[in-house]
C-alpha cells in the first residue's frame, strides 16, 4: 500500500524504504472557532476503532476527563475570560498531533513499534510494542496511554487504515459543523489561511494556525482564535519540542556510550597482549 510507505521507524539505524517521493503529506485541520463541543468525533473514533471507554460521570463538560487506551481523542473545554470581559468557550479536540519529528518514535527502543508513514501519519504498531512507556517521555503533548489490559501504548492513528484506502478519518467524516477537515497539508494550510482571515475580520486579531515548528510541524493542526496564547486551550504548549533529555540522549550519547563499552573490552584485550598477565613466582613464599 503506497500510502503506507514507512518513512521513519523506531529503534532502526538504517534508512527505511524511501525512494518514493511523490507521496503527498496529509493533515487534519481542526478549526476551534467552528467547534460546538458535540463530541461526535469522540463517538466516531470509538465506533470506527472498536473502542469502548468506561462510562463515568463527572462534573463539568470533559467526558471522558482524559485520553486513555480506549479514548484516543477527547474534547477539552476551557472557559476563558477575554480582556473585554466577554467569555470565550474554547473547546479543543485533543489527541495525537502526528509530529513531523515524532518524539515518541525517537524515544522508542522497540524496532518498528512506532512508524511514521510517508504521508506524515505516526502510527503505533502494537504487536511490536514492548510496553516500556518510553514514548510517554518523548511526546511533548502528553498523548500516548499505556493500556492496563495489555500494557501496550495506544493513541490516535489518524485512521491510517481509512486514509490508506482514500477515506478521511472517522472524526472528520462525522463532524457536523465542518470544524474538522482533512486533506493534503498544503491544502489544509491554505484552507486555514482563509479561516484566519475571516476570524481577523471578526475581531480575533491574533487568530493563527497552530503548526508548531519545534517538532518540525504537525499533521494535525489547529486554527486558534487566540493564536498568541495556545495555553488558553487547556494547556496546548506554546512552543513544543522533544525534551533534550530524550533527543540528545538518543541522538548522540547512546552510540558514543555503546562505543565506549566496546572500547573498554578491546583495551583490556590489547593490554593483555601487550603487557601480559601479572604472575607471581611461587618462590616468593617464605
Amino acid at each position: 500500500m503506497q500510502s503506507l510507505d514507512v518513512q521513519k521507524r523506531s529503534a532502526t539505524t538504517t534508512t527505511p524504504p524511501s525512494v518514493r517521493v511523490a507521496e503527498e503529506p496529509v493533515a487534519k485541520l481542526i478549526d476551534i472557532s467552528k467547534c460546538i463541543g458535540c463530541k461526535a468525533c469522540q463517538v466516531a473514533c470509538m465506533q470506527w476503532n472498536d473502542l469502548r471507554d468506561e462510562i463515568t460521570f463527572h462534573p463539568g463538560y470533559n467526558n471522558p476527563v482524559d485520553l486513555s487506551d480506549q479514548s484516543w481523542t477527547v474534547m477539552r473545554f476551557a472557559e476563558v475570560q477575554r480582556e473585554d470581559g466577554r467569555l470565550d468557550w474554547l473547546i479543543r479536540k485533543d489527541g495525537c498531533m502526528h509530529c513531523e519529528d515524532p518524539g515518541c518514535l525517537k524515544a522508542c527502543p522497540a524496532p518498528g513499534a512506532i512508524v511514521k508513514y510517508a504521508n506524515g501519519i505516526v502510527d503505533f504498531v502494537s504487536e511490536n510494542c514492548i510496553g516500556c512507556g518510553y514514548c510517554l517521555t518523548g511526546c511533548p503533548f502528553n498523548i500516548p496511554r499505556i493500556s492496563k489490559k495489555d500494557n501496550k501504548a495506544y493513541k490516535c492513528t489518524l485512521c491510517s487504515d481509512r486514509v490508506a484506502v482514500g477515506l478521511e478519518p472517522a472524526c472528520v467524516k462525522t463532524c457536523p459543523t465542518g470544524a474538522i477537515v482533512f486533506g493534503s497539508k498544503v491544502d489544509m494550510i491554505h484552507h486555514a489561511e482563509g479561516r484566519i482571515a475571516d476570524l481577523k475580520e471578526r475581531g480575533y486579531s491574533n487568530a493563527a494556525l497552530y503548526d508548531p515548528q519545534g517538532v518540525g510541524g504537525t499533521h494535525v493542526m489547529y486554527v486558534l482564535q487566540h493564536g498568541d496564547q495556545p495555553e488558553l486551550y487547556a494547556g496546548l504548549p506554546k512552543d513544543p519540542s522533544i525534551s533534550p533529555l530524550v533527543s540528545l540522549w538518543k541522538g548522540i550519547a547512546k552510540p558514543l556510550m555503546s562505543f565506549g563499552i566496546g572500547l573498554a573490552v578491546f583495551a583490556g584485550f590489547f593490554h593483555f597482549v601487550t603487557a601480559g598477565p601479572k604472575e607471581v613466582e611461587e618462590e616468593e613464599t617464605d
Partner: protein, 205 residues
C-alpha cells in the same frame, strides 16, 4: 605446592556470584533496550516484551544480594591515605611494575573505588528504575521525572558496566585471582605479592 590462604567463605562466594549472575542478566537485558544495536539480546529473554517484564525483577534481585555483599565487604574497602598513593602509581600497576608499591590490605585502591562506585551506583539504578518500572510504578510519577530517570538509569548502568569490564579484566589479568571467588583460597605467594598488608595480618608473618 605452596600454602593456601582462605580469602572468601563459601557464603561470600555464593553471594558474589548471585550478584554477578543477576548483573550479567540485568546488563544484557538493559543493553537490549539501550540501543538498537543490542536489541537482538531480547531473544535471550523471550522477546522484547519479556525483556521489559524481566529486567526490573532481575535488577531488584541484584540489589537485594548486593546490599548483603556490600555490608560484608564494607569495612576492608574504606579508603586510606596509602590508597591514594597507590592510585598515583596506577601507571606502574598497569605496566606490571609492582616493585615498591604501597602495600595494599585485603583490597587495593582500584578494587575499593569499584566497590564505592557500586555502592553508589546500584541504589541509583534501583531508585531510577522504580520510577520507570512499567506497569507497576511508572504511572504514579510525572513524565518529567520519567525523562530524568531514564537518563540517570542508563548513565549509572553505563558507568557500572565499564567498572565491571575492568573488574573482570583485572581478575583475568592478575593470575591466581579467580580462584579466590571460585575456591575461596589464594596462594600465599599471590597474597604476599598483591595484598601484602592483608597477608601479614592473616598469617602473622
Amino acid at each position: 605446592m605452596s600454602t593456601l590462604i582462605q580469602r572468601y567463605s563459601a557464603s561470600e562466594r555464593n553471594n558474589h556470584w548471585l550478584v554477578a549472575i543477576a548483573f550479567i542478566l540485568a546488563a544484557l537485558s538493559g543493553l537490549a533496550l539501550f540501543h538498537p544495536a543490542f536489541f537482538f539480546l531480547t531473544n535471550l529473554f523471550g522477546g522484547g516484551t519479556w525483556t521489559r517484564i524481566l529486567h526490573p525483577f532481575i535488577g531488584a534481585v541484584m540489589f537485594l544480594f548486593f546490599i548483603v555483599m556490600a555490608a560484608r565487604f564494607w569495612r576492608p574497602n574504606r579508603i586510606t591515605p596509602a590508597d591514594r598513593q597507590w592510585m598515583r602509581r596506577i601507571g606502574d600497576v598497569i605496566r606490571n611494575r609492582d616493585e615498591g608499591l604501597p602495600e595494599p590490605g585485603k583490597y587495593n585502591a582500584g578494587q575499593k573505588y569499584l566497590f564505592w562506585v557500586l555502592v553508589i551506583g546500584i541504589p541509583v539504578l534501583l531508585v531510577s528504575g522504580i520510577f520507570i518500572w512499567q506497569p507497576w510504578f511508572a504511572p504514579f510519577f510525572p513524565i518529567w521525572l520519567l525523562r530524568v530517570a531514564v537518563v540517570v538509569h542508563a548513565l549509572a548502568a553505563w558507568i557500572i558496566i565499564l567498572g565491571i569490564v575492568v573488574h573482570v579484566y583485572a581478575a583475568i589479568w592478575v593470575k591466581g585471582t579467580i580462584r579466590a571467588m571460585t575456591r575461596g583460597t589464594v596462594s600465599a605467594a599471590w597474597a604476599k605479592h598483591h595484598h601484602r598488608a592483608w597477608y601479614r595480618e592473616t598469617t602473622g608473618k
